[in-house]
């Protein structure tokens, strides 16, 4: 198959804020280009601070939001092609995992009803017996089993266990792409690594790619093959995870990396806090310039273009830190 798994082309989305008559708009996602090749399964981490458009991007890939401009293609099918859109097929290919597992399952339903409904309604299994076998097999691959899960309510599980079940639910359809929006943010430290390891394992076992959205950079470093850093709706850096995080090219990525509470290396320098304000979304020059320690005059005049370097890295900056000035 020559088609790419996911192509995001110049996608923009803006939200209307303020009262009904206000004309204020913020660009939640601004002209983003991203691609996932479908040849080998990969884990792509999307990182950035709150309000950078991570979740909006996810929701657009899941078709929960429309976009204003650009196009998204999944396995060659354009999202704009409403006639050819088959919700059944779409749900087989893309599946979500959400942040808080206690909120993604209803407290009044047993957890296994979700699993059976996914298997039977999306017509993956022909009958109940078949569904049972399939679910048990998938639950075992995430370290649970149908025996343990059957008849239990979400409150009877710990956060880590429930998140495993929601991963299993997503896997039932054998998707090509799983979108995990902050999957470990609500999980305890002792369980976090188990879940993250699971992603690595499942990637190879089920040949599924992950988009891992997080602001926890240490797990992103651990798990991902590629990283995309967003800032105020713009993709500011993209490339192989290890290179980007060891040697960030954009000043913002550098700032993010410095802010990680690392073990083994104490913070020393003073630190300026960002002032999140909606006017920053409307800046017409480089959006990071007001906070950038290296900003020059040019940065305050116009917007930089994406620069691609030979090793597949993209940077949205006039003066990337890795190049000699």
């Amino acid at each position: 198959m020559s088609e790419k798994l996911l192509e995001i082309k110049n996608v923009s989305k803006s939200f209307h804020i303020g009262g009904m008559l206000s004309k204020k708009k913020i660009d939640a996602v601004n002209d983003i280009n991203l691609e996932i090749e479908g040849v080998k399964p990969v884990i792509l981490s999307v990182v950035g601070e709150s309000g950078c458009g991570k979740s909006t991007l996810c929701k657009m890939i899941l078709r929960l939001h429309d976009f204003d401009q650009g196009d998204i293609r999944l396995l060659g099918n354009s999202y704009k092609d409403h006639k050819g859109y088959d919700p059944f097929r779409f749900r087989l290919e893309v599946q979500p995992i959400f942040q808080n597992p206690y909120e993604s399952f209803s407290m009044r339903k047993t957890v296994d009803t979700y699993l059976f409904n996914t298997a039977l309604r999306l017509k993956i299994s022909k009958n109940y017996k078949e569904a049972e076998n399939l679910i048990d097999e998938i639950l075992k691959s995430v370290g649970m089993s149908l025996e343990v899960v059957r008849g239990k309510y979400p409150t009877q599980f710990s956060g880590g266990e429930l998140q495993r079940v929601s991963i299993a639910r997503a896997l039932i359809t054998r998707p090509k792409l799983i979108i995990a929006d902050e999957p470990v943010a609500a999980i305890d430290a002792s369980m976090k690594m188990n879940i993250v390891n699971l992603f690595k394992e499942l990637k190879d076992k089920y040949q599924v790619s992950f988009i891992y959205v997080t602001h926890d950079l240490s797990t992103a470093y651990y798990v991902s093959d590629y990283i995309a850093a967003l800032y105020r709706g713009c993709l500011i850096e993209y490339g192989p995870a290890k290179e980007i995080m060891d040697n960030p090219a954009h000043p913002y990525t550098q700032l993010l990396m410095n802010a990680v509470p690392r073990v083994g290396e104490k913070w020393d320098k003073e630190f300026t806090m960002p002032d999140t304000e909606d006017k920053e979304y409307a800046i017409t020059y480089c959006k990071f310039a007001p906070r950038c320690p290296y900003a020059l005059e040019e940065c305050r005049k116009r917007r930089p273009d994406i620069k691609c370097s030979a090793d597949g890295r993209k940077t949205l900056c006039f003066y990337p830190l890795n190049s000699e000035v």
Binding site: D188, A189, M245, V260, R262
Partner: protein
């Protein structure tokens, strides 16, 4: 100094008491940042509630007590469980969990600041003088004094959190308790807030107690830390020592499982799950998950004792 003497608390439920803190006994010194780490449901927040003396039904103190003592403005003070309430804001203050939502969204910050000042202090100065002092204090913390006229709903989460910290430290209390001060905030804001707390502690030379489940935060911020597991303290010591040479198997696994930037080697989490507090296992509560557990561990509860000078742990395996 806060002295916690064999404190046990429980929550009363229909099915009988649930023991959440079991015989916790340690001291928090003056002029230090003390961290409490542990996973959810291990009793971190309950311990902090006991420290701040918000002991309200269904939370009950079964045995033991807390003594808060120290010196402020040349006068010594000492309060015990039951009377700590009298010195709220003045000598001890509390930054609760999800602090962003504790401010009343429709009352201007100015009024919320004034409300937190004890009556005795209010009589000494006029309202304008106090407001001036508050504005100066905000400036010192790199916050804009214009904030005083704003309503909390106009501020972002990180900004609200900083305002709460300013509010909690305005009376320069001797003890500041912070429960998960940076959850739900992203790393950049998190760093800003933690640096602000550290700077404040240096300036006020007081005691800060920070509860967090993020071990990275503890490493960066705290001087000494205690690790809790299922309602008991399992290890306590200098933060650096704990990260370098963890003694308790739980701490060892917790530190070993930390993902680090710059390290892609395979890490494993801790298998199993924390025990339900309604029906805890006999003996050491970590035994069912502990790879080194012996028969003794499953029978008797290990004592929390001094292992080395300044280093405490509760484990049978330590000689």
């Amino acid at each position: 100094m806060i002295k916690i003497e064999h404190l046990s608390t429980s929550y009363s439920t229909i099915n009988g008491p649930v023991h959440v803190i079991n015989d916790v006994d340690f001291e928090i010194y003056d002029n230090e940042i003390f961290g409490i780490a542990g996973e959810s449901g291990c009793g971190k927040t309950t311990l902090l509630k006991a420290l701040y003396d918000i002991v309200e039904f269904p939370l009950v103190v079964d045995s033991g007590k807390l003594v808060l003592s120290g010196e402020k403005d040349g006068k010594g003070f000492s309060y015990e469980t039951g009377s700590i309430r009298k010195t709220w804001w003045n000598n001890i203050s509390y930054v609760p969990q999800a602090a962003q939502s504790v401010l009343n969204p429709i009352v201007p910050l100015k009024k919320q600041f004034l409300d937190s000042i004890p009556k005795a202090d209010k009589k000494k100065e006029t309202k304008e003088q106090i407001l001036k002092r508050i504005a100066d204090y905000l400036k010192e913390l790199n916050l804009s004094p214009d904030l005083l006229n704003a309503y909390p709903f106009q501020l972002s989460g990180g900004m609200r959190q900083r305002v709460i910290i300013a509010l909690a430290t305005f009376m320069s209390p001797k003890v500041v308790l912070a429960d998960e001060p940076t959850t739900a905030l992203d790393v950049v804001v998190q760093r800003g807030i933690l640096m602000m707390l550290m700077r404040l502690q240096k300036q006020l030379r007081n005691t800060m107690v920070i509860v967090s489940h993020d071990m990275g935060v503890h490493y960066q911020v705290t001087d000494r830390m205690g690790i809790m597991y299922s309602g008991s303290m399992v290890e306590l010591g200098k933060t650096e020592d704990i990260f370098e040479r963890p003694i308790h198997p739980y701490t060892e696994m917790l530190v070993g499982a930390l993902p680090r930037v710059g390290d892609k080697s395979q890490k494993t989490g801790i298998p199993g799950r924390p025990p339900a507090l309604t029906n805890p296992p006999e003996g050491c509560r970590f035994a069912p998950r502990c790879p080194k557990a012996t028969k003794e561990c499953k029978k008797t509860v290990p004592l929390f004792r001094q292992v080395e000078p300044g280093r405490y742990a509760a484990c049978h395996l330590i000689p």
